[in-house]
């Protein structure tokens, strides 16, 4: 780790100004991802601006019925918040499926959104990686790819986004509030993340110095009937092989509306729009679920070690939908 300066931010504006004004400066949340990367030499900032104590640690109602989650709300507090557990259970479930109790107690909402891929080559500075060192090559494409993408990858990078929370937020159409050097802006979460293309070094569209201040959940009554299912290599404390966040609105055995997002399959949390489309208006039945899941995965392209993710993603989508519509089917 190279030496760096540390500052605790007093307010959002000055934090933004400080980071924007220094190329080697970055924001620090709890550090559970950033400090990890600094130890490995993956990140080498020369100034940390600690934003973890900015007064964004509140969850509050939004006009119009939604909920605003402050950027520094800790993962465990968010998962425990009654409003989340009752109205957006998939989000609480996604958070609780991530990391460990002691990590969730410190990890921030913004930090969770911006955590970087767990691709083993990205984390090992002795191997080439386009995301870490643009142009150096991608070690994964022809390497160990058990954890890598089946959708939306490019020849330059096949990494997946590791966040569970972000998968739920994607299904919920969350909006990310950003404070930047030239003022605030709002981004739909699906616009925040990017596919790797030929610029895998960029996980998101955020510019240097842009600070996340909050995440807004729109009013979505159907989200009360939602869940998150994570399939992983051990029963706990492991990143997803595949995960599914879904909410359904079923009336008289027909899918009136549905939201589905997948984790562990792409460079960004993957909104399963094709499956959603196939399901809207369809009967809440096994065949329809299977058909929709297959539709979503038609363009899936496996790598050497991860062909299993295709049936796993399909089956997990079906399982989740079956679980959510089970009462209807009775």
């Amino acid at each position: 780790m190279i030496p760096f300066d540390y500052e605790r931010a007093d307010d959002a504006r000055s934090a933004v100004a400080t980071v924007a004004g220094r190329p080697g400066a970055v924001f620090l949340g709890a550090g559970t991802n950033l400090v990890d990367h600094m130890k490995l030499g993956v990140a080498n900032p020369d100034l940390l601006v600690d934003v973890s104590r900015l007064p964004f640690d509140v969850i509050e109602p939004l006009q119009g019925g939604g909920v605003r989650i402050g950027a520094t709300v800790r993962n465990s507090d968010l998962a425990a918040a009654p409003v989340i557990r009752q109205r957006y259970p998939m989000l609480a479930a996604a958070l609780l499926a991530g990391a460990s109790g002691q990590l969730r107690n410190v990890a921030t909402t913004a930090g969770n959104l911006l955590q970087r891929t767990r691709c083993v080559y990205f984390q090992d500075v002795t191997t080439p990686c386009n995301k870490r060192r643009p142009g150096s090559g991608c070690s994964a494409v022809e390497g160990y790819t058990r954890d890598h993408a089946i959708l939306g990858a490019s020849p330059h990078c096949v990494a997946v986004h590791p966040s569970d929370m972000a998968v739920a937020l994607t299904a919920l159409d969350a909006v990310v509030q950003v404070e930047g050097p030239s003022g605030p802006r709002s981004l739909a979460i699906s616009d925040l993340y990017r596919l790797p293309g030929d610029q895998p070094q960029r996980d998101t569209v955020l510019e240097h110095g842009e600070l996340i201040t909050a995440v807004d959940l729109p009013e979505l009554p159907m989200a009360a009937r939602s869940s998150y299912r994570k399939v992983r290599d051990r029963a706990s404390y492991a990143f997803a092989l595949v995960s599914v966040a879904a909410a359904v609105d079923v009336v008289d055995g027909v899918m009136r509306d549905v939201r589905i997002a997948l984790g562990g399959v792409a460079h960004k949390p993957w909104r399963a729009s094709r499956a959603e489309e196939a399901l809207r208006g369809a009967p809440a039945a096994e065949d329809a679920f299977r058909h929709a899941a297959d539709a979503e995965l038609t363009e899936a392209r496996p790598l050497r070690d991860n062909a299993f993710k295709i049936p796993m993603a399909r089956n997990t989508m079906v399982t989740v939908l079956r679980g959510l519509t089970w009462e209807e089917g009775r």
């Binding site: 780790m1 190279i2 030496p3 030499g41 767990r118 083993v120 080559y121 984390q123 090992d124 002795t126 191997t127 070690s139 022809e142 390497g143 160990y144 058990r146 399939v231 290599d233 051990r234 029963a235 706990s236 404390y237 492991a238 990143f239 092989l241 299993f308 049936p311 796993m312 089956n315 997990t316 079906v318 399982t319």
Partner: protein, 693 residues
């Protein structure tokens, strides 16, 4: 062997004597010994797997404030012996595997040492490397012996002929991946020279082994080196003498007078302190129509390092496990550009019995027999290998007792026939075995101190096995005093020497030495000694080892659930029944059995060091990538044992319990997974992808 100790303290569940210090975190592990003026070491590791170092540029690193020294192959102190290429740290410019030490920085703080290590520029003459173990390699060779000194190959009768003419046969290949020991406490050393005397606070399973090894490397008499290890955070075979200890000692030479502190990172542990070799095992079984085995062959392919040989004895348990007149076992190695493999809990037995006990399950099915009954039917009367009688062998009792407790009789043998809540459910069984090993070289001293107390000294170690407690119990019974009259001293080579904590041999070897010393003591001084009276003893020879085959046995039963949609696999129930001689301390013994079964479950479901042959290193080299079981992976798990009086093994009647618990677990789980799903997975680990359909 005569004169089994009369058990009084032995057999009681004495609470761990080091327990209070452990639960408060005040028991000092190697790195935690307070030292004055300590400096920190951070190594530089090779980024190639084979070749030569052509230059090391330390200019930038040396210029960094706080850096005390940069060691390179050019300037590092010379060792007197370079024969062991794993230990010849910084003695030449040759690189034998990726991750090898090629330089090291000593600095005032760990942060500076690490930063400076990143600044050291190393250039190489890179040669093509080869790190891939495959069965079709043309350079496989037969080692002289397999670990530690078993014959490489054995053959009895006409296995090929018997197989060809058998009524029922199976011929399958099983593989186990590279696995890393990963004790929770990373390997750590604090090294301090005073003149030509070296003190090492080391996280080790063998203080004397480290002392002798280091003394040899530096050309010193052994008594110039002192190794201190009162508490060790696990080892599982990996904490013997590795390059990290040598590097600490070498670096401390350069900053004489200041203690050098060196702890490996978790990542570094994947290339520097050994691992279990991957194995490719072909097993052929032939049986007559009654399900009696007529032929067993077990042919093993595994790897070693080009710089030093370690040949795991994978097929050895097969030699004495089941009665079959025609048997063959072989071991072949590929010498690769990889780190040196080593012992990992149950070397030989653990991977070998995974294959054999999976094959036994397949064969039971092929013969139309219940797997418990099939094993009982093939129980030998005498050791098939040596022809010697067993000192005691209670495998059948373990199988029967386990079956009874597990509810085996209610089992429907048909695979893939039970489903609960979306989960496919099955049960499986496998046998366990582990030899009774005694390692020479242990001695003990007993001294009467004030207040009627006895000081018992031996350089044994407690790596979590409960040595502090169990040896105290043995000493108490040997002296015929209550346990609280015993002051045990271990973990320091200033004490009488002890063999390594390995091969489940600790209690046999150290306990025998303590008992011998106690007998000596009582013979000399009688029941009423004076303060200061002292006697020594050593592990006596045991002529019975020539007359009997000595092994512990066990049977493990598993219930497995596999999710019908996602392939996720869980083990809600695991039961081990063991016959391992007399149990010194039921509380700590149960912990060891259950702990080893837990590690066996971890091996079955999770553990997999993925070698990336392009880079010649393990790709998933940390605890996020290399999964070991978490608490949530363990369901109801228990171990019990069968009373066994074996007068032949040693004075305590104990057989060694540290490893047998991991032997067979993976097979029991794999067999249960097959019973649940009808899918037979022969390649560990049993991950979800292998069951998804």
């Amino acid at each position: 062997m005569t004169g089994l100790l009369e058990p009084r303290a032995i057999g009681t569940s004495l609470e761990r004597l080091d327990g209070r210090a452990k639960v408060t975190g005040t028991a000092p592990y190697a790195f935690e010994h307070p030292v004055d003026n300590g400096v920190y070491l951070h190594p530089v590791q090779s980024s190639i797997a084979r070749g030569r170092i052509t230059a090391v540029d330390a200019t930038e690193a040396e210029a960094l404030d706080g850096v005390i020294a940069v060691l390179t192959p050019a300037n590092a102190p010379r060792l007197v012996s370079g024969d062991d290429r794993e230990l010849a740290v910084l003695q030449s410019d040759e690189v034998g595997f990726r991750g090898q030490f090629v330089a090291a920085v000593v600095a005032e703080s760990s942060e500076i040492a690490r930063q400076a290590a990143d600044m050291v520029g190393v250039t190489y003459d890179r040669q093509p490397h080869d790190t891939e173990l495959r069965a079709d390699r043309d350079d496989l060779y037969a080692p002289g012996v397999v670990n530690p000194d078993y014959p490489t190959d054995t053959s009895d009768g006409d296995p090929d002929g018997a197989f060809a003419s058998a009524a029922v046969t199976i011929d399958e290949t099983y593989t186990t991946p590279m696995e890393h020991n990963n004790p929770m406490e990373p390997h750590a050393t604090v090294a301090l020279w005073a003149g030509d005397a070296l003190t090492l606070y080391d996280s080790t399973q063998g203080p004397n082994l480290v002392r002798d090894g280091i003394a040899g490397l530096f050309g010193l008499p052994a008594d110039r080196v002192r190794v201190i290890a009162p508490h060790v955070g696990g080892g599982f075979g990996s904490k013997t003498l590795h390059a990290n200890v040598v590097l600490a000692a070498v670096a401390a030479r350069v900053v004489a007078g200041r203690p050098v502190k060196f702890a490996l990172t978790r990542q570094q542990m994947f290339s520097l302190v050994g691992y279990r070799t991957p194995t490719i095992q072909r097993i052929r079984l032939g049986a007559d129509s009654d399900g009696r085995l007529t032929a067993i062959t077990h042919d093993v392919i595994e790897q070693t390092s080009r710089i030093k040989e370690f040949a795991e004895q994978t097929a050895v348990p097969t030699r004495s496990m089941y009665a079959a007149p025609n048997r063959r076992t072989t071991h072949r190695l590929a010498a690769l550009d990889v780190p040196v493999p080593t012992w990992m809990r149950g070397p030989g037995e653990c991977p070998g019995m995974y294959a054999l006990e999976s094959a036994m399950d397949e064969m039971a099915l092929a013969c139309g027999l219940d797997p418990v009954e099939f094993r009982i039917r093939n129980e030998p009367d005498v050791d098939p290998e040596s022809g010697l009688p067993f000192s005691s062998r209670n495998l059948v009792a373990c199988l029967r007792e386990g079956a009874r407790r597990f509810g085996w009789e209610r089992r429907d043998p048909i695979p893939a026939a039970r489903r609960e809540d979306g989960w496919l459910v099955g049960t499986g069984v496998a046998a366990s075995t582990f030899p009774v090993i005694r390692i020479p070289g242990s001695a003990a001293t007993i001294r009467r101190v004030h207040d009627g107390r006895y000081r018992v000294e031996i350089a044994a170690v407690d790596i979590g096995t409960g040595t502090w407690t169990a040896l105290t119990q043995i000493a108490a019974d040997a002296l015929d005093v209550p346990v609280d009259a015993v002051d045990l001293q271990i973990g320091d080579t200033a004490l009488p020497p002890a063999s390594v904590a390995g091969g489940s041999s600790g209690i046999t070897s150290w306990g025998s030495a303590v008992v011998d010393a106690a007998r000596e003591f009582r013979e000399k001084y009688g029941p009423d000694p004076e303060d200061g009276d002292e006697a020594g003893g050593a592990m006596p020879d045991n002529p019975d080892t020539e007359r009997f085959a000595m092994h512990a046995y066990g049977a493990q039963f598993a219930e497995v659930r596999v999710h019908a949609d996602t392939g996720e696999i869980r083990v809600p129930r695991l039961l081990g029944v063991f016959a391992a001689g007399r149990i010194i301390n039921p509380r700590t013994a149960r912990s060891q059995f259950v702990g080893a079964m837990t590690m066996g479950l971890s091996m079955a479901l999770h553990e997999d060091s993925v070698m990336d042959p392009r880079f010649g290193q393990v790709a998933n080299h940390d605890f996020a990538g290399y999964h070991i079981a978490t608490n949530a992976d363990i369901g109801s798990i228990d171990a019990i044992w069968i009373e066994e009086d074996d007068p032949h093994v040693n004075a305590m009647g104990s057989k060694g319990i540290g490893e047998i618990g991991i032997v067979g677990t993976a097979a029991a789980i794999a067999n249960a997974a097959h019973h649940a799903t009808g899918i037979r997975i022969r390649d560990l680990p049993l991950t979800a992808d292998k069951y998804i359909r």
